[in-house]
Amino acid sequence: MKKILIAASCALAMLTGSVQAEDSIRIAFDVPYEPFEYKDENGELTGFEVELAAAMCEEMNAKCEFVIQAWDGMIPGLLARKFDAIMSSMSVTPERAERVLFSKPYYNTPGGWFAAEGFDIDVTDMDAMKDKSVGVQRGTTMDTFVTENMTGVVNIKRYNTAGDMVLDLEGQRLDVVFVDYPVGEQTIKNKDGFIEIGESVKLGEGVGVAMRKRDTDLAKRANKALDTLKENGTYDAIMKKYFAYDIKV
């Protein structure tokens, strides 16, 4: 009887195991983060990373499911198995690498400074910047940069979403916004009365797919798919749809 039970549970484990293997890969995005991931007029999820994710899944022969997750629950959600990968402009940092497994970086963009027209202060001039309000998205590499270089000089305001931050720039609560360059270009510079200021800042080694540490197989497959896409021109085709310049690494 015992043997039968063990055999049955083994069979069950194999069965569920094989089901799990064919199960879809759930990939999380935080929207809106134009042009990387956002919803178009029809409410469909789209953007550079969404299309790249779809291409990777095709390359990996995997069924994928796209999940929307707010930024500050990204890593906990991944670790809690709510989804299997993050492709939401998550820059590779040593602190994050302690908790998650990163693929090779798949793009790198600088952080850009944006402000209302007529703002003519040099952002690197700490005396002139004194008591100005600078907006960043909480927990991003832009946040780290501003925290390390401008704490105590400027008034740092941290936002949960880029959308809220842009609203406050428009509402004149913020003097300057420091945000991922393409996002700022798309959502701020395109608006009347707003300009890019100063030099953009190169931050870190780029953005990678974040996965759970134990999912080394998935990471290998993702890296292989990325390499193929970068070589066969698919990556470039997707990139050209969204950017006028090169963000490939």
């Binding site: 890593i75 908790r99 305001k157």
Partner: protein
């Protein structure tokens, strides 16, 4: 000695002097915001509750609409409308109102005050209309005017009936204040979020802040128990 403490604290990643200071500043902001909104809310709620019991619908109607609106919508939505909505009014930046609404503190204070005023109005109104008819008739028989009746009979007894429900409202308000962090205020929750964003240690950052909220709640419960004992001392059995 302080050197020793800071040395000991800096040996771990989460509870460094810097993060503890951040939590402390958050605590000050939370207490400041919650205390002020409760105080102003109570001051507004008392006359509104009395007027809400008036029979004339032109007096009680608008107050009913106010409490219905603020109790019928989530506080988060009210805060968003007041904080982001007001900034979108054309030309607001040129008026003196902008001095008030530019910083997140006053929009948050306004949203919290109006919200707690609406709930408190209904709590006090409920306590007022629960006044036994006999007490009012007795007061009338003594020839007391409406004012005197209110002051000597109705309101003191209503306060006794309202205090337990109001203590809940105070604790809810403390916890609801956590949403102030979505409009860039660094209250307790905002501090915890910043620390979490730096360290990626959600358990440590949020459990610590949860303990601070528990402590604040404990203090509130204690204060309200004292207050209840004081207000309801006539109900205690003899020799206790």
């Amino acid at each position: 000695m302080p050197d020793l403490i800071s040395q000991w604290l800096n040996q771990n990643d989460i509870f460094t002097v810097m993060t503890l200071l951040e939590y402390w500043n958050g605590l000050v902001t939370t207490v400041h915001l919650v205390f002020l909104s409760l105080l102003i809310g109570l001051v507004i709620a008392l006359p509104l509750a009395i007027l809400r019991t008036v029979r004339n619908p032109f007096v009680s109607g608008p107050i009913w609409v106010f409490t219905y609106l603020f109790r019928g919508t989530p506080l988060l939505i009210q805060l968003y409308i007041i904080y982001y909505g007001i900034a979108q009014i054309p030309g607001i930046q040129e008026t003196f109102w902008w001095l008030i609404f530019r910083e997140p503190f006053y929009p948050a204070l306004l949203a919290f005050t109006l919200n707690t005023a609406a709930y408190t109005t209904e709590i006090i109104r409920g306590a007022i209309i629960a006044t036994p008819v006999g007490e009012i008739e007795a007061a009338k028989a003594y020839g007391m005017s409406w004012m005197l009746r209110m002051r000597r009979i109705i309101l003191p007894n209503a306060a006794r009936r309202a205090v337990q429900a109001y203590s809940n409202e105070v604790i809810f308000m403390l916890h609801a204040s956590a949403i102030a962090s979505v409009v860039t205020m660094v209250d307790l929750t905002g501090a915890a979020r910043n620390i979490y964003a730096r360290t990626y240690a959600p358990f440590d950052a949020f459990i610590f802040v949860a303990l601070i909220y528990l402590m604040l709640t404990f203090i509130l419960v204690f204060v309200f128990r004292k207050l209840e004992n004081h207000l309801l001392r006539h109900q205690r059995p003899v020799n206790s």
